[in-house]
């Protein structure tokens, strides 16, 4: 145990905490408290998730029948484009880092706040500005380029609001860069006395690796998007060959960011799983260093595999081979994590609270997502699977099965810390099961669809693909319900949930050693001092011999 004074059990719900020190709207909109900013993000990304989810629903409904009878082609194309842009730039990228990372990193390192509280607030405003621009694009008629903005379609041919959409992604990128910067400085400079690098929770390591990618990668997409805008507005030939440009250059630049970005969308989720698995099996994590370094390995090698999105783009065969080889390698650190989480259960004392169920779900679904990544990293099979529903299934398994599961896992785990209240545990477990089942029903058939050859982004399709599409849409409705239920009980819990107390899970980690919800400056007393490694769980009567 660290030497922090635990609040007396009687003071289960502190009278004053970060959320009720002030009540005015301005006190929220002008706050520099990382916890309040995290809540601002939580509310905003949840709204965007709902909007993105609505578009997904339209897409799935349209695909119930082979004919394009619900939406016309242009509308359908806008639906999947807006779905992708919103889910990726406005939900997934900020999800765990900007909400949980923001809330928890200062607590976990025993600091009063992030290194640059005002920049933190500024990041949220950038995000909101980007969101407003995106919504403007939507209201003015939408965009239809796909979230990948491939040229020359996006730069010359599309007649929709490409400029606004690109600007939205551009501004959102800066929000993400600044958050990453803030985390890196905080982790380097503001760790509590005794909190060495190898005592940091793996959640912090995961965010460190994520932040590196955000800082190094995001400027590339910003430049790329500016170039698209330049070509679109001033007709300068950069990507459009009829103006003297090179369309494949765009793909290189786009994926140079967007492949690493997929790790922005998974590493934080992995961080959450490491916290939750240890807590509910009352065990130290197995292979701490391996997990920590595998995050860094992913961040670094992840920058060298972008060409695996371009095996059929006329990229040279030899370049393709290098990218394929490195893609096989980048899967290894992910496998290491899965093995270490599994090994952590060994000789633990396991309980099955809702966060743990989500963590199990994460491991299963992420494993499928990662393994199918190999089918796409293998050039021979990728020439068949590329741009089919197989790819759609793969990335939903990692991004939704992985990251969204990880996000829900984390929210369920730290909800009592953030709000001081509990949610109904049985209902939460039922929702977790619904999400898991619904998810598989929605996306597993898409692997088969892809193998059969159904291309992605198709508004109409051949008759023989219908049965699998109907299964997928049916699954999506279960999934939708699974996401809806937590929304309801979380709101209920805010008002009527049982008081949780500072540490309802008896978890380790500095964030659990202050009140729930924490006071504005996180720790009532002096700064905590850390004298032991992370996850120093012990099971009674089973002291480790080693």
């Amino acid at each position: 145990m660290s030497t922090v004074a635990i609040a007396p059990e009687s003071a289960l719900m502190p009278k004053r905490h970060y959320a009720n020190v002030r009540h005015s709207v301005a006190s929220w909109l002008l706050t520099t408290d990382h916890k309040r900013i995290a809540i601002l993000y939580l509310v905003s990304i949840t709204l965007f998730f709902a909007v993105g989810g609505f578009f997904a629903m339209m897409v799935r409904l349209e695909l119930l029948t082979p004919k394009g009878d619900l939406l016309d082609g242009d509308t359908y194309n806008k639906m999947f484009t807006l779905h992708g842009i919103i889910m990726i730039f406005f939900f997934l990228i900020p999800s765990i880092p900007a909400v949980l990372g923001n809330f928890l990193i200062p607590l976990m390192v025993g600091a009063k706040d992030l290194a640059f509280p005002k920049i933190n607030l500024f990041s949220w405003y950038l995000y909101i500005i980007a969101g407003v621009v995106a919504v403007t694009a939507l209201v003015k008629g939408g965009v239809d380029t796909g979230w990948t903005f491939y040229t020359p379609y996006s730069s010359t041919y599309a007649k929709t609001e490409v400029f606004l959409a690109v600007s939205a992604a551009f501004v959102a990128g800066f929000s993400s860069i600044l958050t990453g910067l803030n985390f890196i400085v905080t982790i380097h400079k503001m760790r509590a006395p005794g909190l060495t690098w190898f005592r940091l929770p793996l959640f912090v390591w995961a965010h460190y690796a994520t932040s590196l990618i955000q800082i190094l990668g995001t400027p590339i997409i910003a430049i790329t998007l500016v170039l698209v805008a330049v070509e679109r507005i001033w007709g300068k030939g950069i990507f459009d060959p009829s103006l003297g440009g090179d369309p494949v250059l765009f793909q290189h630049m786009f994926w140079f960011y967007s492949h690493p970005a997929v790790y922005i969308m998974i590493l934080p989720g992995m961080g959450v799983i490491s916290e939750v698995i240890t807590c509910f099996s009352r065990k130290r994590i197995f292979g701490y260093e391996f997990i920590a370094f595998s995050s860094l390995a992913i961040a670094i090698v992840g920058f060298l595999v972008w060409g695996h999105h371009m095996f059929v783009s006329t990229q040279s065969t030899y370049a393709g081979m290098v990218f394929s080889f490195l893609s096989f390698l980048v899967a290894v650190p992910s496998a290491i994590k899965v093995f270490n989480w599994t090994a952590t259960l060994y000789k633990g004392e396991i309980t099955f609270e809702a966060p743990m169920l989500y963590a199990f779900g994460f491991i299963g679904l992420f494993t499928i997502g990662g393994l199918t990544g190999l089918f796409l990293a293998a050039m021979a099979t990728d020439i068949h699977f590329h741009d089919t529903y197989f790819v759609v299934a793969h990335f939903h398994y990692v991004m939704v099965g992985g990251m969204v599961m990880g996000f829900l896992c984390g929210i369920h785990y730290w909800w009592p810390k953030m709000t001081g209240r509990m949610y109904p545990p049985l209902l939460a477990s039922i929702a977790a099961a619904l999400v898991f089942v619904g998810f598989n029903c929605t996306f597993f058939p898409q692997f088969v669809l892809g193998y059969l050859g159904m291309p992605r982004r198709y508004h109409e399709y051949a008759q023989e693909f219908q049965v699998l599409n109907v299964m997928s849409t049916a699954g999506a409705s279960i999934l939708g319900l699974g996401y809806f239920i937590p929304g309801v009980y979380f709101i209920w819990s805010l008002f009527w949930g049982p008081v949780a107390g500072p540490n309802p899970w008896h978890a380790k980690g500095l964030e659990w050693q202050t009140t729930s919800p924490p006071p504005t400056f996180n720790f009532e007393e002096d700064r905590p001092i850390v004298v032991e490694e992370a996850y120093a769980y012990s099971i009674e009567g089973a002291e480790s011999v080693s």
Binding site: D144, Y153, P241, G287, V312, F339, T367, T381, G453, R457
Partner: protein, 317 residues
């Protein structure tokens, strides 16, 4: 439900090879997935809270375990990589003797032109058992030519040629899809590949809609567009084009370049980009004056001049 297919037909020589990679990957993945899930469930049940089991951890040799599960997947990954790269090599190298067909993608249709000049739209007739090489280009955005039963796919780019080859092993009518998102009617940019017995194909080729054979059409264009005035005759102002295809030429920059489809294309559309050493920049640009298919006809004509040359030099030596 019984009519739900679970696998597409295999109708090309490469399809079974690709599927074999797929089966092996599926097997390995299923094994790993099953192993992880089984161990996870087993541990979760055995060590759930309240069970009376030994929880004392005795000197675990964690390093050895970590190394095992790092090295084994790495080696397996590398092995699969090498194999799949070899299959890919075969896919990416069209055989020398392949029959050549031109494909032009355009929002939202496929235009096909056979060697004898016959044209079709959204349909591609090919003979069984004959390697076919498609030379493809786009008139606007990027498309992607995808025939699931052949397991082949290649992007079709504007202002550039990409190729794709296959050898059909089954007669029948199969789906042709555009796989790269290209706007409003992307999902309607579909068609059919009709694989026929070679004799039937010959018959079909000589049937209705036969155009002028590419070579003689090329000769006409070559004259009509005035290429002859500079590239043939007694005092040509430009380099002779006979026999140039497939050879190396020296550019003004000193660089050597192999004359291929893309180079000829560029020489016609943007002659100043790569000047041949020893010639002034006289050649006018034909950008926006030649249709995509005529351009291809011209290129084929220049190629055919080289073939004659090669054939002749072949017989004399």
């Amino acid at each position: 439900m019984s009519n739900v297919p679970l696998a597409p037909e295999q109708a090309s020589t490469i399809a079974p090879k690709i599927d074999l990679v797929l089966y092996v990957l599926t097997g390995l993945s299923a094994f790993f997935l099953f192993a992880v899930c089984a161990i996870l469930v087993f541990l979760a049940i055995r060590y759930r809270k309240g069970t009376k089991v030994n929880r004392v951890i005795e000197n675990p040799d964690a390093k050895a375990l970590e190394l095992t599960w790092t090295i084994i997947p790495t080696i397996m990954g590398i092995a699969v990589f090498v194999w799949t790269a070899l299959v890919y090599f075969e896919y990416s190298r069209p055989p020398e003797n392949a029959m050549e067909i031109l494909v032009t993608g355009k929002q939202w249709m496929w235009k096909i032109q056979h060697p004898n000049g016959k044209r079709e739209i959204n349909q591609l007739h090919v003979p069984l058992g004959v390697p076919v090489k498609l030379t493809m280009t786009s008139e606007d955005v990027i498309h992607s030519f995808f025939v699931p039963v052949f397991r082949v796919k290649r992007d079709v780019l504007p202002n550039r040629y990409s190729d794709l080859w296959f050898e059909a092993t089954k007669t029948g009518t199969f789906h042709l899809f555009c796989a790269e998102y290209c706007g409003t009617d992307h999902s309607r940019m579909v068609g059919q590949v009709v694989v026929m017995e070679p004799e039937e194909y010959e018959l079909w080729l000589s049937g209705a809609n036969v155009g002028v054979p590419a070579a003689s059409a090329g000769e006409k264009l070559f004259t009509k567009l005035g290429c002859v005035t500079c590239h043939e005759g007694t005092s040509p102002r430009g380099p002779a084009l006979k026999g140039v295809f497939g050879k190396e030429v020296q550019l003004q920059t000193g660089e050597m370049i192999v004359v291929d489809e893309d180079y000829i294309r560029e020489s016609i559309l943007n002659p100043q980009a790569k000047l041949v050493a020893g010639y002034p920049p006289l050649m006018p640009t034909f950008q926006n004056q030649i249709r995509e298919q005529d351009l291809f006809t011209l290129i084929n004509y220049i190629k055919s001049m080289s073939d004659e040359q090669n054939a002749k030099s072949g017989t004399t030596s």
